[in-house]
Amino acid sequence: MSQMNLRQLAPGQKASIVKITACGELGRRIRDMGLVPGMSVQVLGKAPLRDPVALRIEGSTIALRNSEADYVSVEVR
């Protein structure tokens, strides 16, 4: 098990969220979409310009920018 940044997760790789370090509006938005510690996340793909990134979270697809993914720490299972 290794902890890393969500940005470093390779497409297809599954991980679980450990911590969200964003605060303020960004923090709220990320949490409101269901990205909270304990949730499992998988990188589905990236946009043609490699940013933003599409994630699978519990039955839905969420897109966020690389700079926003930096605030999410994950643990690869």
Binding site: A47, S60, T61, A63
Partner: protein, 777 residues
Amino acid sequence: MSCPMCEKRAVPGAQAFTEEEKRNGIRIALAGNPNCGKTTAFNEYTGAHQHVGNYPGVTVEKKEGWTSCGGHKVLMVDLPGTYSLTPYSMEERVVREVLAPEDRTERPRAVIDIIDSATLERGLFLAVQIRELGQNVVLACNMMDEARKAGTVIDLDRLSARFGVRAVPTVARSGEGLDKALELAIEEAQKEAKPLSISYGPDIDPALLKMESIINDRQLLTSRYPARWTALKILENDDVVRAQVQAADNVAGRELAAIRDTLAAHLASTFDTTPDAVISDYRYGFINSVLKDGVVRRDDTKDRLALTDKIDKVLTNTVLGPLFMLGVVYFMFWTTFIVGAYPQGWVENFFAWLGEVMTGVLPEGLVQSLVVDGIIGGVGGVLSFVPLILIMFLIVSFLEDSGYMARLAYMLDRVMRAFGLHGASVMPFIIAGGIAGSCAIPGVMATRTMRSEKERMATMMTLPLMTCGAKIPVFLMLTAAFFAENQAGIMFAITLCGWAVALLVSLFLRKTVFRGESTPFVMELPPYRLPTLRSILTHTWERGWMYIKKAGTVILAISVILWAALAFPALTEEQAAPFEAKIAAFEAQISPLEEELAALTAQLEDADASSRADMEKAVADLAARKDALEEQKAEAENALASEEVRNTCGGRIGQFIEPVFRPLGFDWRTDVALISGVVAKEAILSTMGTAYSIGETDPEEPDSLSAKLASDPGWSKTVALALMLFVLIYSPCFVTLVVLKNEAGGWRWLFFSMIFNTAVAYAAAYAGTVVGNILWG
């Protein structure tokens, strides 16, 4: 819709409905996440009995409709789709305003919260917050058909028991379960509302208790919000609620803020976190406790999103994605502007016909001119855009409801972000100026789909800087006159220039007027779905009707004012006399010639072969003389028209501001044309034609005007370049301005757009003059 079942059940301890509620309807709100099927449910409930408007001051759509249940009349409010109740977006603020309004009589009696069964956690996250706000809630677990197909089983009874909220399985598309949900909502509406209270852990709970007691002691906003909710919002650092508290009780506000600051400092030093993060973690913790031990059983072999994922593999692919996007954009243009040109033509023809009829009916003079040129011309101009707007929104609604619009934003966010915009700005930009023939009006209206406020404003204000269909004839005329050797290249350069100016100006605006961090992108890419025809048609019609209603009224007034500016004051008889004398003199010469010509032509028919050749020559000479005279007469008439324009308010303003535009090489005639171009860009050419005394110029065939300008010593390539840049950038036309005012929410944006764009245009045109002087001397 009616359900006889609720009549049978008497609810114990009921809070009776007031007479007013019985008369106007019991207020029930529909809440839920975006893309959860809420609008479909609303349409199922209310059918055609809907009323769409705007919440005051914001462009969030306010939808209300009527239905009935068990003899009760129900006033249903469709809230905008949200994930949460933060103060960060207009939609969420509106939801809070509706659920806890200042005027308690407007408070909904109960909420039907629609939840997508596939994303229960996220749906319940909103439900918890609505319950905390003190509303009675009925959960409608929607899209149960999809859930069943995916093998998901939800134990709603256990969910209800643990959450303390009743839940109903629904399928909004077929109407399944909606009756039951409404019936339960009516029951809930008669119960006393008790806000949900959940534990937020050992750090926050004591602080909450302390704050609650202060709030209750001082009766702080307690008639509007539950005390615990106010306390939570202060802990979350909610600007709106903090301001409300501060305004209501300054001292208590400071006391509460102090508690928050102490807690925040403690959390930061011990756990490196913030109160709002802890609060949201505990909310999800509560939801997990509701859903634990198999309330939801998922079949892992079946994936509801398998199809969506497959489609996304193609549609957001690095190579195929952009290609498909180009195809979609091209199709949209083709349909909107090529196919839409037919109904647009019909509307224009109808108003042209109406104008002719009125010309026939009304006596010649001011009233006729007011009705035909001012009112019919002005209103017809506005209504001729309606077909374009309807078609464009038909396609945009389809793209939105199908889920593709979110992918567009996803694919292009990286590009738009570089200019301080958002991925979702792409669509409005493409509509407003993607290719020749586009229009800023539907573009501005399409910004409604954007959720990030600053980016939305920047997008809206810069859309009119692109080349629109009405500016193109001006560019065509000028390139034909001065850049005939490379017309296509210059036209292409102008289009690119429009994009460049719009993007650079938006970057500038985002650094100044709409300064601030970029709004987080975090968004859902909803599963692909085939939209229902009904929702698309409703959506399209609502937007089209709003345009007709709002733009129509203001435009009518403005077009009358501008008509007057270009019609008054008329020339006095003395002023017009020399011109009319000249015209009369030519007429006096022409009419005997005509008679002579007619006589000769008659003789020619009977003439024999010998004299025929001579007579034919005489007829030709006579005809040539007559044509020459008629041309001179037309020139005299045009000179009169030009003098008339020069004498009007508009013309005088043109002459007054001439010194300002001198440095750009424009004379008063161009200035008047530019002023009339604020009414509609199409008017630039026709006004220039009149002012340059070549008669009315048909925008479709501006050849005579280009020939005139090419030979005019006051004109050069440099002036043409400056004018093209100026027309591209300066004040939007009035229809756009009015739509901007409506969408941006205030008259100040109308004036801002007029003045700011004109200033930018002046700077750009001046730069063009400098460059032109270097290039062409």
